[in-house]
Symmetry: C2
Subunit: 287 residues, 2 copies
């Protein structure tokens, strides 16, 4: 079995993409932080259909973690990741070093203002600044025509869409549905942190979303009532501990008081060491 083609050097990656573009190839990119799971692989499989060259990046981005967060312990298994990507027959793995991405003296950051502020942005200082910055850098290096993102990280998708539009990036942002394990838990590298009893408790994110949806189907329109049901469902499942449960408009992510049309319900809860997020668009489809 041949090895997975692999580039770590930034200039070499740019030259590879320039060459592919000059040949008229359509480049599709799947940016990841590694420790791949079925969620990533679904992006890879969908990405295969979107173009000719499929590039997966693995880069655990220090700029999107606050000093108090889990950058140091974020799970890594490059050997396994490479094996999975070979099985998917991706064309190229791009895995730069942190020293090359953020050399000494690095000082340029991108802010996507309004859409970065609520939800996770209100709880993770600098997180979306780090996300927007690294995605912009990766787009400049890999020069994709399209890039694949998962809707589990719903706010991230909206930040990147807004950045791409505002900065005239000419990259198609393709958002794919959340992939869930058989117990309903949204796939996330951080699920790895969960002990068996915590994993059982973590199912409350999914059940809380289900209860909210049932309320809306039953005619409830007051955001506060729906939120109360979510809070109650999470509180019934210790050690799960709610960080936020917010209803907002699905594009600008600004809070709403009433469910009048498609409305995003976004949740975050801590279970043990794992900070877990999930979401559902109530009363409509994901945009």
């Amino acid at each position: 079995m041949a090895a997975l083609p692999n580039i770590s050097d930034i200039r070499e990656m740019q030259a590879w993409s320039d060459h592919a573009r000059r040949q008229g190839k359509r480049i599709v990119m799947v940016p990841t932080m590694g420790f791949l799971h079925e969620g990533h692989l679904s992006l890879v499989r969908q990405g295969r259909k979107e173009g000719d060259c499929l590039v997966v990046s693995i880069f655990a981005n220090p700029a999107q973690f606050a000093p108090s967060e889990d950058f140091g312990s974020y799970p890594r298994d490059l050997e396994r990741d490479v094996r999975l990507l070979m099985e998917e027959r991706v064309d190229l793995l791009f895995n730069p070093t942190a020293e090359d991405m953020y050399p000494r003296g690095y000082q340029t950051y991108v802010d996507v203002e309004q859409v970065s502020r609520p939800l996770c942005g209100a709880h993770r200082a600098g997180h979306f600044r780090g996300v927007a910055t690294v995605v912009l850098k990766l787009f400049h290096i890999v020069r994709p025509h399209a890039a694949m993102f998962g809707l589990k990280d719903y706010q991230q998708v909206q930040v990147i869409r807004r950045m791409s539009e505002d900065l005239n990036l000419d990259v198609e942002i393709v958002a794919c549905p959340t992939v869930r394990a058989s117990d309903g838990l949204a796939m996330s590298s951080r699920n790895h942190y969960l002990e068996p009893a915590e994993r059982e408790a973590a199912r409350c994110l999914q059940s809380a979303l289900g209860k909210a949806e049932a309320l809306v189907r039953g005619g409830e329109t007051l955001a506060e009532r729906i939120r109360e049901a979510v809070v109650e469902e999470i509180s019934r499942h210790p050690p799960a501990r709610l960080e936020y449960a917010d209803l907002c408009d699905p594009k600008e992510l600004q809070p709403v008081e009433e469910v009048k049309g498609p409305t995003l319900l976004a949740l975050c809860a801590w279970v043990g060491k794992a900070r877990l997020i999930d979401n559902r668009v109530l009363a409509g489809k994901e945009p």
Copy 2:
């Protein structure tokens, strides 16, 4: 005489550049805010030598002006600009509208942190954030291989160089020497604001730089003594009023106390309604 080829639409500009790139053409860009003078035209003439397609943009960028500043009165004369660019036989004028560049809901900005803070950055809140953002957008739209900037705006050049390097832009930033009028005043669209007596007083920027250089040639190394000579020279020329006179390292623009190697002396003075800047690299060449 044929008309100057001219694009205002962003998508159309991107398509033009994509086409030129697929033909293997090297695109050179001269970003301007219009009201062109010999400084701009020197960038155009130098740019002609740097590639195959020469694109000049004219866009007075509201994002780089604070609300208290002169965006409303910044001089404009598109008809004259077009005539000058035709005489220089540029290949294309790109002049987008502010509504297309910053549509309703626009919210993405680029910060180049350390290098934006001193000098003009300390006196013009948000200025370099606006500059970095619009230049990044223009680079994404025009997709140049090289872009021309004048060293009169020395800090701007360093901000754009740093941004290009940090964000992996793959655009060559070409810096060109300051062009001066016969009376020594650095060319600037804002010189248009000067009444004759103010113009006479404005020559003190150039004479102050000359006095500083003479001191350094004579063996003076203490930044504070050099600065004092500059302050005195400006104070002898009312209505000129110093905003800052700083000695700093020519790359990171951090203040220095001693002139040990190439050192930037950057000046800003108000003369009437005109905020004028000038600079010189003492004890060495511009980097």
